[in-house]
């Protein structure tokens, strides 16, 4: 066993210990397990909300995207900032309503706001479908990190199984509390590693940032600006907008809102979180540094660029430290996603639709029992899928963004969207996303008559437009029906 592997296993064991220890002093009832007893202060909520910034998506996917695509990677830097601006007005009223009604999940919110258990069920199912690729990308990253950092002595497949087992154990025991404590450790570790690598790699290989970008511009002219076609400016604009709208629509992001003890926490976070996002610059710098140093990685292999460059540069013990940081970026978000998916199925599918008299204790036990089942499904998709990490996340985003129009409408003083309108809009939007994903369609392929600049629009926008049209039409029709119906008062 090499030194890299010892360090990776040591950190993983520490994460497991911390995750299990988080339950001490707390009676793990349903509210504690799912939303931490609504007792989290600024730091914990900040780290849970910022959790997505430092997942394997950014650690490997961000550097890989910069390595393989160049300028289009900038979208990762931009969308979070716009999402936090939106959150200033979006999250406080959601938090207030959730606190008043004692809500613990996103479908719970929809079911109450629109007075429609069926809508809650649909939102739960859309949430679970979107969370699977998100969990898959964490496991995929985990497999890559351990396999590469162990110099091949542990296969990617075995690494995925070990990682899934660790996440499953501490989620079953500690729920969101385990994730929160590990988020603290993870963010400190990854912050140090990413900043160090982002400064050291360009200095070591090129002598500085300017020299690195000069060399890239000479070797690959135009690589650092958006291309005229494909991942063009139009693609950037539509992808940033789509992902910014969907940022807080993930079941676990929505759920992290419920953990806060004060609504001002969200407004304060909206100031600081955009700056926290800037750490991603250093991830890009590593990817850019790798462009000319480890050339030739293609397709899904672009996600390996950070690790390949690290192995080429450092001793095994330090590769172990980098690998351990990477493992943490998979374990913490993975545990949040698993907690969310299990709660959605137990509380919002089982209790809300099949057995309404189920007690909190029964729901919690069912959620805990579902954790290994969901992990197993994600492991299967991980081992048999071939997408890049960024492609997996964008697929999930296309699904969750379908919930945005109904959420915004629900916050208006006079909600123009009826429960039938919201249901039909979300359903058609989700079906459109599934069809687009399965057929690997592009906007240019679907509508070849469109102007060239529009053909690069993110295809998820098509689903969102269909969703909006259906929501508006069905709401108009059902409101007319309500107006014509005799009053029962």
């Amino acid at each position: 066993m090499n030194s890299a592997l010892i360090i990776i296993f040591g950190i993983t064991a520490f994460a497991l210990f911390l995750g299990i220890r988080a339950r001490s002093g707390h009676d793990m009832d349903l509210e504690q397990w799912t939303v931490g007893g609504r007792s989290f202060g600024t730091i914990f909520v900040f780290l849970l909300m910022a959790g997505e910034i430092y997942t394997t998506f950014t650690f490997l996917g961000g550097s890989g995207f910069a390595y393989g695509k160049g300028a289009p990677a900038y979208y990762i830097l931009a969308y979070g900032t716009l999402a936090y601006v939106i959150s200033y007005w979006l999250l406080p009223p959601i938090w207030r309503y959730a606190k008043e009604e004692n809500l613990i999940s996103q479908p719970h919110y929809f079911a109450k706001k629109f007075d429609s258990p069926a809508l809650g069920l649909l939102v739960a199912l859309v949430g679970v479908v979107a969370l699977v690729p998100y969990l898959v990308l964490q496991f995929k990253g985990l497999g890559l990190i351990v396999s590469i950092a162990s110099y091949g002595s542990i296969s990617s497949t075995l690494a995925v199984w070990i990682g899934a087992a660790v996440v499953t154990v501490y989620v079953m025991l500690s729920g969101v509390r385990g994730a929160a404590w590990n988020a603290v450790v993870k963010d400190f570790v990854i912050l140090g590693i990413v900043v160090f690598l982002g400064i050291y790699m360009p200095m070591h290989y090129y002598g500085g940032f300017g020299a690195m970008f000069d060399a890239i511009e000479k070797a690959k002219p135009g690589f650092l600006a958006f291309p005229a076609r494909g991942s063009s400016v139009t693609w950037f604009q539509s992808t940033v907008l789509l992902t910014a709208l969907g940022f807080f629509m993930w079941p676990h992001s929505f759920g992290s809102v419920f953990t806060a003890r004060d609504e001002r926490i969200f407004r304060r976070n909206a100031i600081v979180l955009p700056l926290y996002q800037l750490i991603l610059l250093f991830v890009f710098f590593v990817g850019f540094a790798a462009t000319l140093q480890v050339p030739g990685l293609q397709g899904p292999d672009i996600d390996l660029s950070l690790l390949k460059l690290s192995i080429q540069t450092f001793d095994p013990w330090f590769v172990g430290v980098i690998g351990a940081a990477g493992v943490m970026t998979a374990l913490v978000p993975g545990s949040m996603i698993l907690t969310s998916a299990a709660t959605l199925l137990a509380n919002d599918v089982y209790r809300s639709n099949l057995k309404s008299d189920a007690s909190d204790a029964v729901v919690r036990r069912l959620a805990q029992a579902l954790v290994p089942v969901i992990a197993l499904i994600a492991v299967c998709f991980t081992l048999y899928g071939g997408s890049t990490i960024v492609a997996l996340l964008l697929m999930g985003y296309n699904f969750v963004t379908q919930l945005f129009p109904a959420v915004v409408a629900s916050l208006l003083t006079r909600n123009p969207v009826t429960k039938q309108g919201a249901f039909c809009g979300i359903l058609t939007g989700a079906i459109a996303v599934a069809a687009i994903t399965l057929t690997k369609s592009t906007l240019g392929g679907l509508f070849p008559f469109l102007p060239e600049s529009l053909q690069d629009l993110n295809v998820g926008m098509v689903a969102l437009v269909i969703n909006l049209c259906v929501t508006a039409i069905v709401s108009a029709l059902t409101q007319q029906g309500l107006a014509r119906a005799p009053s029962r008062a």
């Binding site: 830097l77 200033y88 950037f236 100031i271």
Partner: protein
């Protein structure tokens, strides 16, 4: 309402501005707007009466 109009600036700067400007210049432009966004949100927080301690 004026506060919400102020919050539109980052959207215009990042989404529309990039089309005009396309360290890499585009990257520097986005980073500049991220820093500006934090400043704008700080101003909004300071001016927003709902943040005053009741």
């Amino acid at each position: 309402m004026p506060l919400r109009l102020l919050a539109l600036l980052p959207f215009v700067g990042i989404l529309v501005g990039v089309a005009f400007v396309n360290m890499p210049f585009v990257l520097a432009w986005i980073v500049g707007w991220i820093i500006l966004s934090a400043v704008i949100m700080g101003i909004i927080y300071a001016l927003d009466p709902s943040n005053r301690i009741r």
